[in-house]
């Protein structure tokens, strides 16, 4: 076990845990953001640099500070480590610079983009970025690449986090897409425009932190903040069948995997569940999905305030809130 101090908060974690995971154990506002790191995907992380933190004391044995900011998602903790994130001016300035760099080639098409409202980059730039751009050169443009009938690729929005590549590598047997080119010319492609037709290929939509990979069956159907999320499940032979339905009234507009507070998928779902089961009758509804109040998706969602939980039978999980203990 290793004891570290993160932003002045002491936390004890297993040896070999990364700084980011230790911070997530604390939770709340001190957790560094992460655009490329994704817990279910092995080897992800270390690419986007938004999770940079300052290590002011390397360990109890060697208290020297680390000379440069380190990426918290791939740096393991050591006993006695002291880490600064939100309390360090350098970290916040560096993050601001990184957001600006990520936005250099990212188009400003949020009004058109289907990811708007649940986009990690949108949240990140809102919290850490500046509202104006200093970039005057033309942004990158690409020829349209067709990824089959289900997945829409907008290469201009890609921030090259490699999450989808790892997903295809690790949860499907044969990946047919990857990153082509190097440095400035790097882009996601399927090489000979191969169609992604694996049972689990749809999960690249969920892992994408921006709107580069989106659901074609949901394209322009509605804005995410007008849809009501519901937890639902079905008996699926290929996957767990536990999903979130996004719909209006009785129509299911979109099916996604369930994501936790760090937008990480809890269980990957198959393409049949995601693209073909668009009827309410296909699903067993568990109840409304709780959306964080700070999110735009929660606008106009009215949750039932349950004060006395024990007297209401069969409450959906989302309505149960932590009551202050007396």
């Amino acid at each position: 076990m290793a004891k570290i101090t993160f932003d002045g908060i002491e936390v004890e974690v297993e040896d070999g845990t990364t700084i980011l995971q230790a911070a997530r154990k604390i939770g709340g506002d001190v957790v560094p953001p992460a655009m490329c790191f994704y817990t279910p995907l092995k080897g992800s992380g270390g690419k986007c640099r938004v999770c940079l933190v300052k290590v002011t004391q390397g360990s109890a044995r060697d208290p020297r500070p680390m000379p440069k900011l380190v990426a918290s998602c791939i740096t393991p903790v050591q006993d006695g480590m002291v880490v600064e994130n939100t309390t360090n001016e350098d970290v916040l300035n560096a993050r601001k610079g990184i957001v600006e760099m990520l936005l250099i080639n990212h188009p400003l098409d949020c009004p058109v983009c289907d990811q708007a409202g649940e986009c990690d980059l949108q949240n990140l730039s809102y919290e850490h970025g500046v509202s104006a751009t200093r970039y005057e050169e033309p942004r990158r443009t690409f020829d349209k690449v067709d990824l089959g009938p289900y997945i829409q690729l907008h290469m201009t929005r890609c921030i090259l986090c490699y999450r989808c590549v790892y997903t295809a590598d690790q949860i499907t047997e044969k990946r047919v897409h990857g990153v082509l080119g190097r440095g400035d010319a790097a882009e996601i492609g399927t090489y000979i425009e191969n169609v992604i037709d694996n049972d689990f290929s749809g999960n690249v939509i969920d892992v994408c932190p921006v709107g580069a990979l989106t659901d074609k069956t949901w394209r322009f159907k509605n804005r995410v903040w007008f849809t009501k999320p519901l937890n639902a499940h079905r008996d699926c032979p290929t996957c767990s069948g536990k999903v979130t339905l996004w719909g209006r009234g009785d129509t299911v507009l979109r099916v996604t995997a369930r994501k936790d507070e760090y937008a990480e998928v809890e269980e990957f779902i198959c393409n049949t569940c995601r693209f073909d089961k668009k009827e309410m009758s296909d699903w067993t509804i568990e109840g409304p999905r709780h959306i964080d109040r700070g999110s735009v998706i929660s606008a106009n969602h009215y949750e039932l305030p349950v004060v006395n939980v024990p007297i209401v039978p069969n409450l959906p999980k989302s309505t149960v809130k932590k009551m202050p203990t007396e």
Binding site: P111, V112, A116, R219, F220, R223
Partner: protein, 154 residues
């Protein structure tokens, strides 16, 4: 009290005086709708969906006006622009239907403020007139979109 006072003569003369004075005063009313009053420059009236300099609709159905609307008066459905419609719609996505319920609208102008494409504006010279039927207050794109300026083209 004198006889004249008892017969209310001074009071009647005073009352008539006030009435006659009002004949020569400026009228408080105007002959609407033939005449209209001058409105403030920031007066918020009927909505309009603007077109850009090439005559294409600016609205991209992003839904920010609808989510900003405190009265939930705005609804829309989006569609994808097809090839050959570039002169009609500015962006890849456009509003197939766009409806403002003028009975719900409180003319607060938050939609105008929320719009990232400078598409929706509250005009300062038009209002939503009274009508007999409730469905006539649901303004669709046919009544909201700015008409094409045909006279200005060569």
């Amino acid at each position: 009290m004198t006889l004249a006072e008892r017969m209310y003569l001074p009071a009647i003369a005073q009352g008539l005086g006030i009435t006659i004075k009002h004949f020569f005063k400026k009228k408080a009313t105007i002959n609407y709708p033939e005449e209209t009053r001058q409105r403030s420059d920031i007066w918020r009236g009927l909505h309009v969906l603007k077109r850009d300099e090439n005559g294409a609709e600016r609205c991209t159905a992003c839904g920010l006006c609808a989510v900003a609307c405190p009265a939930e008066a705005i609804t829309m459905t989006a569609g994808e622009r097809k090839k050959g419609e570039e002169h009609l719609y500015r962006e890849e996505k456009y509003a197939v239907t766009y409806e403002v319920n003028m009975l719900r609208c409180i003319f607060c102008g938050l939609c105008e403020e929320a719009c990232p494409k400078a598409a929706i504006f509250l005009q300062d010279d038009k209002i939503a007139p009274a009508r007999y039927e409730r469905d006539e207050f649901i303004y669709g794109k046919d009544r909201l979109v700015e008409p094409l300026k045909t006279t200005e083209t060569k």
